[in-house]
Amino acid sequence: MPGVGWLLLFVIVPAYAVLAIAFGRVNYLFQPVPFWNPLHWNPGYVSAAVSGSLPGGEYWPSIRNTLVFVSVSLMLCLLIGYPVAYYVARHAGRTKSLLIVLLVIPFWVSYLLRMLAWIGLLSPAGWVNGILQALGISNPPDWLDGNPYSVILALTYGYIPYFILPVFAGLDRIDQRQIEAARDLGATPWRAFLHVTLPLSRPSIMAGSALVVLPMFGDYYTNDLMSASPKTSMLGNEINLFVQGGSQIDLGAALVLVLMVILAVGMSYYIIQSARDARALLA
């Protein structure tokens, strides 16, 4: 089982190393010293990271930005993505194959290119401002300097393909006859959708949301590219700053733990909900 060995070596050991660094100390050269024995752990960095992450703390603006940006983007993914997936899965008819191919393309177009595309469009002399000026808005905003709307736009734009595909697959798998049965029993189309299609597609909505939310929480490059301003800084940016910026790997590691705790809360909701859905399907 060399594969399992590889994963143990490069997934589990590094995860423990992050713990050890986060609970470690610095030596006299201010280099982080990991503490391997949990009994010797120094809670200093972790408590600093946690208290900084609570409202009023040093990292709270980043946490708040992260939560706000991710939830707004997720809402947009739902509002745009679900109708698209629904249409392609259930009503597209002859154009379905073409539409699926078109849905898959953005999935495999490099994320960085898709950001690059928006940087070109949103830059001060770009086409977006050109259109706004043509519409009579003489003083268009600077999109690329700490503008939260640009960051939300970019996050939604970047991750929505990861939402649409699983939701599409889920909707496509729904047995047409179940909806027809609801209609035969007198349900209006709207009620059939509300009481049959929507509940049946909920597991895939949950899966799609998880696929979108997980990477968004760790994202730092979208923000760097679209704003590069501390005003819109997210949790991922803080971690990146502490770890790659160099000096405070221990604080970065502690913030990684904060990130994982936030995600663990979300994931447990997801797991409980999917287990409930699975039971409901069996019942």
Binding site: A17, Y86, I100, W108, L112, L113, L116, L165, P189, G218
Partner: protein, 323 residues
């Protein structure tokens, strides 16, 4: 509702018939906005335009005649080939990023694919203690944000003075290790779904006919898995060449810059020319070619082309997105 009220509703008919008749205007639409899905058609095509047009524009700007990446100044191929020092195939920083991306992708394919195939075979056979843990271990890289893995590998390679981590320095080796670690899971997912659809009967037949376990795998199972193996190789290629976070954390200096890293560090600078867009276009073209090949191999060699439906499902499966 009693039986006498029952009206055969139009929606009970097959979908093709349901959409055909168009009855009276806005009221019918309000009564049944989902039945005649013009709203949905609109949303879908608007979404697709929103998703694809910016990319097309970015590609178009690689043919810009001026130095700007946002103001159109006429068509030329100077940033692709014409300019002898600054075009994408002449400027050494572009070509080195391109070569390094290809090198990493090659190494990642060569290591992650065989390792992933072995892991998938092992996990499929492994019953009992530890198999559950190994399964969840395999899924960890898929469900943690990339930055978590990148930070933890970074910590290990820079702070941990224990074998074997001391042998791995930031740079190409660490980049390959990082990329293999996350691509492994994708290989396992693809191979296992194929293994499940093959079933165990062929292998058992081979064993009944006197093949040793190793022979059964080598002579029967591996040829049956070949389409999935080849297409997962290409998926690994696409994952590797598109990867940014892990590759960036594991890099050491400018000689280990890949295309996505180069795009990241130059996208905001005023100095970069449309050659940057050309570089991004190359990246996308290479990825899409890999994916199309993977798709063709998976469907044609896998004899799954009975219906386009099956093929298209394979496409979504390949995208690693099966719920």
């Amino acid at each position: 509702m009693t039986v006498t009220d029952f009206q055969p509703s139009p929606a009970a008919a097959p979908p093709s018939q349901r959409q055909a008749p168009r009855r009276g205007g806005i009221f019918a639409w309000l009564r049944n906005p989902w039945g005649q899905p013009r709203f949905l058609v609109g949303v879908t095509w608007l979404y697709l335009a929103w998703a694809l047009v910016p990319v097309a524009i970015a590609i178009l700007f690689s043919f810009n005649n001026g130095k700007s990446r946002s103001v159109w100044q006429g068509f030329s191929i100077r940033w692709w080939w014409g300019n002898p020092t600054q075009s994408v195939f002449h400027d050494p920083s572009y070509t080195s990023a391109l070569m390094h991306s290809l090198l990493l992708a090659g190494l990642d394919m060569a290591i992650a694919t065989p390792l992933g195939v072995l892991l998938a075979l092992g996990l499929a056979r492994w019953r009992g203690r530890g198999s559950g843990a190994a399964n969840s271990l395999m899924l960890i890289p898929l469900v943690t944000p990339e930055i978590v893995m990148a930070v933890s590998l970074f910590v290990v390679f820079t702070q941990l003075a224990v074998l074997p981590f001391t042998l791995i320095k930031l740079g190409t080796t660490a980049q390959v290790v990082g990329q293999v670690t996350f691509s492994l899971s994708y290989v396992v997912v693809i191979i296992r779904s194929r293994l499940a659809s093959i079933g165990t009967q062929y292998e058992e037949a081979a064993r009944d006919l006197g093949a040793s376990p190793i022979q059964a795998v080598r002579l029967v199972l591996v040829p049956l898995l070949m389409p999935a193996i080849l297409s997962s190789t290409l998926i690994v290629f696409a994952l590797s060449i598109d990867d940014f976070v892990v590759t960036q954390y594991m890099s050491s200096n400018s000689s280990t810059t890949t295309i996505p890293m180069y795009l990241y560090s130059n996208a905001r600078g005023g100095t970069s020319t449309p050659a940057l867009n050309a570089l991004a276009t190359i990246l996308v073209a290479v990825t899409l070619i890999g994916i199309v090949l993977a798709y063709l191999l998976y469907t044609v060699l896998g004899k799954r082309t009975a219906t386009t439906e099956g093929g298209l499902m394979a496409l979504t499966e390949l995208s690693g997105m099966e719920g």
